[in-house]
């Protein structure tokens, strides 16, 4: 048992960097290309511009495009193209200053507030809220007047007003990450708070901050143009906002003067917005819903497949019967088959255990019965019978109708399977009213009765409580109550006791056994623990890599396992394994013997 079952080298994993994935999005590529052109033009403005942007030639006042002035002249007789190019420089310089100011103020404050909490958080959040509630434009005008229209100072001030955007995002991420055990581990490893903030925390906020910067840059450019439009900024520095002001005053007579800077501004802001949304798409974890073609591809790949496992009962007598079930997921490299031909059955009043290690496909088999596979999963079977009726060809709606009536389900994690926003009463009574058409009072009475039945001594308190107000063991009792409230003929349970400690586990297993006998249900229980199997099961299905290794009555499986894998799993349980003192004795004996031989 000491052998470590690990390969000497790991299989190569294809990791696709973010920028490569970005380049696969056409919209993102176009937006990035447009923005790159704007940046290039701004950088090369002094070489590209045909004239000095401030050179006045009265001959071209209000001139239409042509005569060596591709975009014509403005109301003061200056070349519009040259001013547009120089304006790009001003615009981007301002945007960079604004974003840097926002980043420098918002991110460290947000990360510290989220990480330290307490007073730091309260003070920082108060300042952030105050900034958001002050009318920014008025303050900016005051700043402009007070600093002699210094453009850089004004852009920094604008950055201060955009800092709360960064602050909110950084704080939210830091709050979530602070509770992760790896932060505790870093503290125990002697990492200083400053270093934790610099490494772990900053890495956690990195992706959303990049997205936020693309969006902030767009906002900054818009606001900057607005300020310039109002006449703020040095008259000798050409800017798009200033040009728009000029165009606005001559809009009715010479509309083209307004058109050019408007296009430049609109295109730049749109490019930044699309870059931001493409990045946001890439960094957020989203499950792609399978396409019709994808599902057909998975179905086709699952078409052929030999069955594994045997049936013990006549088809008509079964509470559950599965015939040659296959489950697959579409993946970039083809179809991933997680269940590869499984057959099993369970009679009313029988407890069937499905055992296997993680990745053996046992939970996927269960979810196929419930028709609750995660998105992207497709199940194909020669037949699934529930209570003697074939259901695998029914529509999803008809399959869903079985839940709560014919099939009850007890999940693995009690806490995450109760909605934290509703009291227990509502979560128990609502399905009863919906599925069984009971009145509000009847449903409440039924929910109360069933809570008493699952061993809850103060049902009224539990009915009124929210999930966070009850313990894990109590939550699992509530979920079991919900599963059996509709008097199903088949109860399926997915590792119902794994998340609980042994004392509660024993109680939950005892309760399941009692209910199963009382109602004469078939119970199908998925577990990796042979102790649980020995405790409750009548028959066992052992699964490995999506196939049934062996099926048999519980005594036979434990006494005479037919497959070496079953024997290995049973021997992994620590019941009869040597204790530490015995292990140490044999080790010491061996060492003394070795030293004696030397």
């Amino acid at each position: 048992m000491t052998a470590a079952p690990f390969p000497a080298t790991l299989a190569p994993v294809k990791r696709i960097p973010l920028w490569r994935r970005y380049l696969r999005r056409p919209l993102g590529v176009v937006a990035l290309a447009v923005f790159a052109v704007v940046v290039a033009v701004a950088a090369l403005a002094s070489w590209l511009a045909p004239y000095d942007p401030n050179f006045v030639d009265f001959a071209i006042t209000h001139a239409p495009p042509g005569n060596g002035h591709p975009l014509g002249g403005d109301s003061a007789g200056r070349d519009i193209l040259s001013r547009l190019l120089a304006g790009a420089q001003t615009t981007l310089y301002g945007a960079v200053i604004t974003c840097v100011a926002g980043l420098v103020l918002g991110v460290p404050a947000g990360v510290s507030a989220g990480y330290f909490g307490g007073a730091t958080d309260r003070i920082c959040s108060w300042i952030s809220d105050a900034l958001q509630s002050v009318p920014g434009m008025i303050v900016l005008l005051v700043v402009a007047a007070g600093t002699g229209q210094n453009f850089t100072v004004l852009m920094v001030a604008l950055g201060v007003f955009l800092a709360p955007g960064y602050y909110r995002i950084a704080r939210a991420r830091a709050l979530a990450v602070r509770k992760e055990p790896y932060i505790d581990a870093a503290r125990v490893a002697g990492v200083t708070n400053a270093r934790i903030l610099r490494t772990h925390m900053l890495r956690a906020v990195y992706a959303p901050i990049i997205v936020q910067t693309a969006l902030t840059a767009g906002i900054a450019i818009g606001m900057q143009a607005g300020l310039q439009f109002l006449g703020i900024g040095s008259a000798s520095t050409p800017s798009w906002g200033q040009m728009m002001n000029d165009g606005f005053q001559n809009m009715l007579t010479y509309p083209l003067i307004l058109l050019w800077p408007s296009i430049a501004l609109g295109v730049t802001i749109a490019a930044l917005a699309f870059i931001g949304s493409t990045l946001a798409d890439l960094v957020s974890v989203r499950v792609e819903l399978p396409t019709r073609r994808g599902v057909a591809r998975v179905r086709q790949a699952l078409e052929a497949g030999t069955s594994s496992g045997t049936h013990a009962h006549q088809a008509a007598d079964c509470a559950l019967r599965i015939e040659n079930l296959r489950v697959g997921y579409a993946s970039p490299t083809g179809v991933k088959k997680v269940v590869r031909g499984v057959s099993l059955d369970a009679a009313p009043g029988e407890v069937l255990g499905i055992v296997g290690e993680s990745g053996s496909g046992k939970t996927q088999t269960l979810f196929s019965v419930l028709d609750l596979l995660p998105p992207g999963g497709t199940a194909v079977a020669d037949g699934i019978w529930v209570g003697g009726e074939e259901v695998s060809r029914r529509s999803p709606k008809e399959r869903a109708a079985l839940l709560g009536r014919s099939i009850g389900y007890v999940p693995q994690e009690p806490m995450t399977n109760l909605d934290p926003c509703y009291p227990i009463e509502r979560q128990l009574a609502e399905p009863l009213r919906h599925v069984h058409g009971l009145s509000k009072a009847e449903a409440r009475q039924r929910a109360r009765d069933i809570l008493v039945r699952v061993g809850i001594t103060d049902p009224d308190r539990v009915l009124a409580a929210y999930p966070h107000q009850i313990s894990g063991g109590m939550a699992q009792r509530v979920l079991i109550a919900g599963a059996v409230a509709g008097r199903p003929s088949l109860l399926v349970a997915d590792e119902p006791s794994t998340a609980l400690d042994v004392t509660v586990q024993a109680e939950v297993l005892e309760l399941l056994r009692e209910l199963q006998r009382e109602y004469g249900m078939a119970l199908v229980i998925v577990t990796h623990n042979f102790g649980v199997v020995a405790d409750i099961c009548d028959r066992v299905v052992v699964m490995k890599d999506g196939r049934v290794v062996e099926t048999g009555p519980v005594e036979q499986i434990f006494r005479r396992p037919a497959d070496p894998y079953t024997a290995e799993l049973i021997s992994a349980s620590l019941d009869d394994a040597e204790g530490r003192d015995e292990l140490d004795e044999t080790w010491l004996d061996r060492r003394t013997a070795q030293e004696g031989a030397r």
């Binding site: 048992m1 000491t2 052998a3 470590a4 079952p5 690990f6 390969p7 000497a8 080298t9 790991l10 994993v13 992760e180 055990p181 790896y182 505790d184 581990a185 870093a186 503290r187 125990v188 490893a189 002697g190 990492v191 200083t192 490494t199 890495r203 956690a204 290690e357 993680s358 313990s471 609980l500 400690d501 042994v502 004392t503 509660v504 586990q505 024993a506 005892e510 990796h528 623990n529 042979f530 102790g531 649980v532 020995a534 405790d535 519980v554 434990f558 290995e568 799993l569 992994a572 349980s573 620590l574 019941d575 394994a577 040597e578 204790g579 530490r580 003192d581 292990l583 140490d584 080790w587």
Partner: protein, 271 residues
């Protein structure tokens, strides 16, 4: 042999809403000797993890003393606490949350060394050696935690704990999130590493079977108090306290006949 870790009459309170307090530890005492593995068993809410956290400085102590190697560390903060990092380390339960998903395994393992001032070249050599010890291939350094299974991640977490050659490792339910077969190999790894390095373990678990496999001595906790302490063999086979008896009978054995008997006895004790 004098004790490496000594906890005397430790009291820890958690602040609930407003001024109400919840007393998680009600005067707990425990000792761990060099090279020894001491188990802490109990159900959730018994305070066993809180004791581990208090030793690590992650839970504030209301009263009592924690002494490590003769020095009092009850309220060690800041620099003093960081100084303990080379002596006291931790392995957490959750193999998914305990490794930073944005760092490669090499960065995760090198971090404790780098903050202690080890040069990068030297750190790399130590990390490679450590990976070999926990039976992971050397090319794991360039990979991210998400590319590993639960058992492999727990090996990485163990490697991180041992990389600075500490004298005490607090193991907070380190195998309860793993498959039974993986549990067995990880427990054997803990035992092997203890023999090789002479490290002490404070081993928190809810499973008496796990504790029996790795611990020399064990303390049983119930509602913030230690109800029974003794040699593992004695506590797991012939417990004195009724709570320990119930705890022992609650964990199912992988044998239908013996489990039927055990369940019957447990049901008898329950009423």
């Amino acid at each position: 042999m004098s004790a490496l870790l000594e906890v005397e009459n430790l009291v820890v309170d958690y602040r609930l809403r407003g001024r109400t307090r919840f007393r998680a530890l009600k005067g707990v005492s425990i000792t761990v000797k060099p090279g020894e593995c001491v188990g802490l068993v109990g159900e959730s809410g018994s305070g066993k993890s809180t004791l581990g956290k208090a030793v690590l400085g992650l839970a504030a102590v209301a009263s009592g003393r924690i002494t490590f190697d003769g020095k009092e560390i009850t309220h060690a903060r800041g620099r003093a606490r960081r100084g303990l990092a080379s002596d006291i380390q931790v392995v957490f339960q959750d193999p998914y949350g305990s490794l930073d998903p944005t760092m490669t395994v090499g960065e995760v393992l090198a971090e404790p060394l780098v903050v202690a001032g080890t040069s990068r070249v030297q750190a790399r050599a130590v990390v490679t050696g450590m990976l070999d010890r926990v039976c992971l291939p050397a090319d794991a350094v360039h990979r991210y935690p998400s590319e590993f299974s639960g058992g492999q991640r727990q090996r990485i977490a163990i490697a991180r704990a041992l990389v600075r050659r500490p004298r005490l490792v607090v193991c907070d339910e380190p195998v309860s999130a793993l498959d039974l077969t993986t549990q067995a190999t990880i427990l054997d790894l803990f035992v092997d590493l203890q023999r090789e390095t002479g490290v002490s373990y404070l081993f928190v678990s809810h499973d008496l079977g796990v504790v029996r496999r790795v611990c020399h001595r064990v303390s049983v906790m119930y509602q913030g108090e230690i109800v029974e302490t003794g040699l593992t063999r004695q506590v797991t086979q012939d417990p004195v306290h009724p709570y320990t008896r119930r705890l022992r009978l609650a964990s199912p054995v992988a044998d239908p006949e013996r489990q039927a008997e055990r369940r019957a006895t447990w049901l008898g004790l329950r009423d």
